[in-house]
């Protein structure tokens, strides 16, 4: 019983610290207006080292990017990825905690 509790506690501590160490970014993207186009942005951003999740909120024209601990997304990297997908970067911001928690607009 003690061993099980210890393992559970260790897993919880580890997952919380891993979550806290992730870096989150919120990109405003102009020109994005259909789901089929959204995939191009996801594909370009996923090529960047350390990216673990790209989420496009098409209704808000916003892309949320999550990177592993120690990896960052510079504005220049974000702009290049969005440009290569054929769109225009409107805004860039690093946000705290879970993606979607910040507002760079």
């Amino acid at each position: 019983m003690f061993t099980k509790m210890s393992l559970l506690l260790a897993a919880l501590v580890f997952s919380v610290s891993a979550l806290a160490a992730e870096n989150h970014y919120r990109l405003g993207v102009n020109g994005l207006a259909c789901p089929f186009c959204a995939y191009g942005i996801e594909k370009r951003l996923n090529k960047i080292d350390g990216v673990t999740e790209v989420r496009v909120d098409i209704g808000d024209s916003v892309v949320q990017v999550t990177l592993k601990e120690g990896n960052t997304l510079t504005e220049e990297q974000a702009r290049r990825a969005v440009d290569e997908a054929g769109f225009t970067l409107r805004s860039y911001a690093e946000v705290d905690g879970e993606t979607g928690g910040g507002n760079a607009e």
């Binding site: 405003g28 102009n30 020109g31 994005l32 207006a33 259909c34 789901p35 089929f36 186009c37 959204a38 995939y39 191009g40 942005i41 996801e42 594909k43 370009r44 989420r55 496009v56 909120d57 098409i58 209704g59 024209s61 440009d83 290569e84 997908a85 054929g86 769109f87 225009t88 409107r90 979607g100």
Partner: protein, 305 residues
């Protein structure tokens, strides 16, 4: 006599068919092109099944039936330049016609003429939730299809062949205005058809327009992520074709002007598009006894990689 009949038939039938009209498009409209981007390094694959029926009310009671598959691969070379390859495959191109010998049927199949074209985004204005783009496009059609297929009556009429035997060129410009709720596209395209072995399809000029309106989800309020969109489509095609060239003259019973409307539906996700339209003639002004469209059904899908 047989030769005479054959010759007369060929002459009269030369007006019976035009190019299949497999759509060479990459994105939004179902019947023509768009100015939306193909992201750099992305590949788009499209398959479109085309079922086309044509007929006339003349004494020969001609009926033309085409079943074809258009395969398209597009690739984003840069954010503004995309190249496309189009391979039409004809499952069947069939002509039924009344002759003094009775009703006869002639048909063929095979790979048609392959097209390659490039599209460059010359103007781009992006804003929140929308974009406006203008993109010229240029392309060639290579004579890869069989242009001298034969049946028991002899060589098939040239318009019935799956290839025209000549290099053709086309150029145009397409504009797209897209918002989250709807999208409009317009295209002006000219196709100059080459001549081979005494025959050339008439040159073609077309003006296309398309409206796609999102009907589901009707509102994006409260919806996060990227849901699939369902669009209702209405597309318009005004097409003018010159007369076909035969030997030293032109075929009086070929070419003309027609206006087609195409209602349809389109379901779009991040990776897939599934779509279908039926093109119906609204007005037709054929030259002489040139055959006219009854309907064109287009169904297909697109996938990005």
């Amino acid at each position: 006599m047989l030769n005479n009949n054959h010759s007369v038939r060929n002459s009269m039938l030369a007006s019976a068919l035009i190019l299949t009209g497999v759509s060479v498009v990459q994105a939004a409209p179902n019947t023509f092109n768009t100015a939306l981007p193909v992201p750099q390094g992305e590949t788009i694959w499209r398959e479109q099944l085309v079922l086309r029926e044509r007929s006339d009310d003349g004494p020969m009671d001609r009926e033309v039936s085409v079943q074809a598959l258009g395969s398209v691969l597009g690739y984003g070379v840069t954010p503004k330049l995309a190249v496309f390859g189009v391979v039409p495959y004809f499952f069947n191109k069939e002509l039924d016609v009344s002759t003094p010998m009775g009703r006869i049927s002639r048909d063929t199949n095979g790979i048609g003429d392959v097209s390659l074209f490039g599209r460059y985004t010359a103007y781009q204005y992006d804003f929140t939730g929308g974009t406006f783009r203008v993109a010229p496009l240029f392309g060639v059609t290579a004579p890869t299809g069989d242009s001298d297929d034969r049946d028991r009556f002899g060589e098939l009429p040239r318009p019935l062949q799956v290839g025209d035997g000549a290099w053709d060129g086309f150029a145009g410009v397409v504009a797209t205005y897209q918002r989250l709720q709807y999208q409009m596209d317009a295209q002006l395209l000219y196709r100059g058809n080459g001549r081979h072995d005494g025959f050339a399809h008439g040159d073609e000029t077309r003006l296309d327009a398309s409206l796609q309106y999102r009907i589901w989800p009707f509102s994006l309020e409260g919806i996060s992520g990227t849901p699939g969109f369902t669009y209702a489509l209405l597309e318009s095609s005004l097409v003018h074709r010159e007369r076909n060239e035969i030997s030293t003259g032109t075929d009086a019973n070929s070419g003309g002007t027609q206006w087609l409307l195409a209602p349809g539906l389109q379901f779009i996700t991040r990776r897939w598009v599934v779509e279908g339209t039926i093109q119906l003639p609204v007005a037709e002004d054929p030259n002489g006894d040139a055959i006219q469209d009854d309907y064109i059904v287009r169904v297909g899908f697109r996938r990005n990689f």
